[in-house]
Amino acid sequence: MTLAEVWFVLIAVLWVGFLVLEGFDFGVGALHGVLGRDEAGRETALGTIAPVWDGNEVWLVVAGAGMFAAFPGWYATMFSAMYLALILLLVALILRGVAIVLRGKQEGPGWRRRWSAALIAGSVLAPLLIGIALGNLLRGLPIGSDQEFTGSFWDLLQPYALYTGLTVVVLCLLHAAAFVGLKTVGPVHDRADRTGRMLGPLAAAVVVGFAAWTLATASPGAGGWIVALVAVAAVLVAAVAIGRGRDGLAFGATAVTTAAVVGSIFVNLYPRVMVSTTGPADDLTIQNTSSAHYSLTVMTWVAGVLLPVVLIYQGWTYHVFRRRLGAPVAATPTAQIPSPRPAAEQPAGKHRTDPGRTHARDH
């Protein structure tokens, strides 16, 4: 295995890691209005991702920077070819990132409603666009022999890519339902279960379609078949487990499904990094887009040392915030009427004693 191939695997791992982690963040953002009937419920739903979403998003930053460093040719072609889609993705990510932080900074239903709308729009649009981008890598775009994109914006909107986008969005929603089911008790947990039961069959159907279409598109090797089967098997397990009290299994299964769906793009791409519809000779490959050996060696050392450290402390974060969050049984008056001081101004040392709030319990 050459260093360039190692980096191809690493980039794939970073994209997979990003969508497995940020996938439920996206889903929770999109579903928070559904999962929480009232403000307290919505806060609980968002509370499940609040401490971790920012760290999850860094996976995207590192995936992008890793492509820049290890495969400048790939990064340059892909990012300039998908110009408008990526700008829209940035807008979506900006909107939802700011919305998560600012939403709770003011009392008042108008303020919260506006940021909630931005959060939902951004949280649906972002995975959709990422899915479309990944689908286009495999389905192929017109690229000339100089590795420059020769098509137009409309080339991005091909059916397979759009369907990949749809698949990623549906998976994020299911993944989020499983995650919130795992991380909460009380009514929010119940609503997550109900949502998951509705989404389960839909997601299963969508993933089966995706697997079939991918196999038909990519003329896969053994790896392609295996990853497709894993995706289908995992989504079926998820659909069965979700909403039946098997919270841990359901979340594990949605995580595996997401990983397999995103991973299948890279497995089927190998050893290409971006397919050219102009002709196989113009495909971007690991070989013809990668950095030179010295640069890859340095980066391999850096990633080899740092990535495990990152995984350890990020994992520790999840351990620290492992407790389930609770919410009132019904909308209590305190949750609706603004308290004298905005929530954020409450000294954290003095806990609000909302009678409706159930205590958290460890799981």
């Binding site: 609040a50 930053v61 990064y75 070819a81 110009y83 940035l90 900006i94 900074k105 030179a292």
Partner: protein, 467 residues
């Protein structure tokens, strides 16, 4: 305007905007960590209240800083694919290291710090804010290593395809432009953070809201500000000498010096002096000062723009290698003059502190509030000086900016995205500024004791603090 001009305008707009948030993040993270350390050591509730107060400002600010940083990373690929292809092998490495070594650290530990108040031991919780501070400073380290390579490329060869290829990664981190530039960025960030902390504290002191508490933050702010601004001026001077060595155009343009001189004087102001005006009217000339700034020698020689341009034309072929002189001249002066203003403010504050009169000096407190925008203007001017002075090169001596953009991306797309970003950034800026101002003017929460662990165990939400 050409496609490249639009792409440049987009990069300039988005990076200047991004850079309003970066130094404040670095500075405030460090100061918040300092406040929490003092609380940890002394146990005085005042420092806990200050930690939370300024920590909230930090968190609001980080949100916008992070998302605008994402735009910067994507933009190399979307708008500057020619550049990415040419230098990815060298420039990408520090960028990837930034993500792995710094950005993860900052983001993950910020989440732990915000929500970890009742869940982590005091010592571990203190460590998380220091991790945030170190992460944000490391972030700047890798970005500056990458940026300095554009100013003074080192540790590379050009391969057979004419692309830059890394040969010595240590060279990136021993690049003199990087070492002095990075020091400058960290010091400037401390200046930004401490001026903001001083200004906010002064606002409260004037209104006698929790004077016993804000007096302490004002004291710490002055104690950080005075050495930071002093060192920033020293380091800035050294950086000028280094830039003059590797990028002589940058410094010659900063004085609008068209003819070679020895010794060279520094003008306080000038009338005229654009690229078409080679004989501007200079006002109040200080003899020998330019020589000193550019070479560290009393009688140092500064080669004029015309001579440099002729030299470059011989070396790199026909073309115009002079940057925008008007921007260069004035961004240098805005930076330098305002730095002196901040230095005087710091001196004044230190003197008042020594006389134990700071909280009673109405004039000082008023000026300190007004001074809040000043360090932001300084850092923007500093970046204009550095980046405008590099033009027309994107990588000094290696690639021209006009050869660096994405050949397949048309003007219409860039203009569209520029408009979108400007609108989005404007809305974000207004909301962020309004929220920061609102939270900065909020009265301190009443005295609070640290929550007992068993109490924390029962706390189901604990999200009240920030979210």
């Amino acid at each position: 305007m050409s496609t490249v001009d639009w792409a440049r305008l987009q990069f300039a707009t988005t990076s200047i905007y991004h850079f309003l948030f970066v130094p404040l993040t670095i500075g405030l993270a460090f100061l918040t960590a300092l406040l929490q350390t003092r609380w940890h050591r002394s146990g005085e509730a005042a420092y806990l209240r200050l930690t939370r107060f300024f920590g909230t400002l930090l968190v609001i600010n980080v949100a916008v800083g992070v998302v605008t940083g994402l735009v910067q990373e994507f933009q190399f690929g979307t708008n500057w694919s020619g550049y990415s292809r040419f230098v990815g092998d060298v420039f990408g490495a520090p960028l990837a290291m930034e993500g792995l070594a710094a950005f993860f650290l900052e983001s993950v530990f910020l989440g732990l710090w915000i929500f970890g108040w009742n869940r982590l031991s005091r010592r571990v919780h203190l460590a998380t804010i220091w991790a945030v501070a170190v992460g944000s400073a490391l972030s700047a380290l890798f970005i500056m290593a990458a940026n300095s390579w554009m100013q003074h490329p080192v540790g590379y060869t050009l391969n057979s395809a004419g692309r830059a290829q890394l040969t010595d990664v240590w060279a990136l981190f021993t690049n003199p432009v990087f070492i002095w530039g990075y020091l400058q960025v960290i010091l400037a960030s401390l200046v930004v953070g401490s001026v903001v902390m001083l200004g906010v504290s002064a606002w409260h002191l004037r209104r006698l809201s929790s004077p016993d508490v804000f007096h302490r933050s004002a004291k710490i702010a002055v104690a950080v500000l005075l050495p930071a601004i002093l060192l920033a001026m020293v380091v800035g001077d050294e950086l000028g000498v280094i830039e003059a060595k590797y990028q002589p155009m940058k410094i010659a343009a900063a004085e609008a010096q068209w003819t070679t001189c020895q010794p060279c004087s520094f003008s306080m102001f000038q009338i005229g002096g654009g690229n078409g005006d080679h004989t501007p009217t200079k006002i109040i000339q200080i003899p020998h000062l330019l020589s000193l700034l550019a070479t560290n020698h009393w009688n140092g020689k500064v080669i004029g723009l015309d001579e440099l341009n002729a030299q470059y034309q011989q070396q790199y072929g026909p073309g115009n290698y002079v940057p925008n002189v008007f921007i260069q001249y004035w961004s240098m002066r805005v930076m330098a003059y305002l730095a002196v203003v901040v230095f005087l403010l710091a001196l004044w504050g230190a003197w008042l502190l020594w006389r134990r009169r700071l909280e009673r000096s109405r004039w000082f407190l008023r000026v300190a509030v007004w001074a809040i925008p000043v360090p932001f203007i300084i850092s923007i001017a500093g970046w204009m000086l550095t980046e405008n002075g590099r033009q027309p090169w994107i990588v000094q001596g290696l690639q021209l900016t006009k050869d660096a953009n994405s050949p397949t991306v048309g003007t219409a797309w860039i203009v569209t995205s520029l408009v979108v970003f400007v609108l989005l950034y404007a809305v974000m800026g207004i909301v962020d500024w309004w929220l920061m101002a609102r939270y900065a003017r909020r009265e301190l929460a009443p005295d609070e004791a640290e929550p007992a662990p068993e109490e924390a165990e029962q706390d189901s939400q604990a999200l009240e603090f920030i979210y």
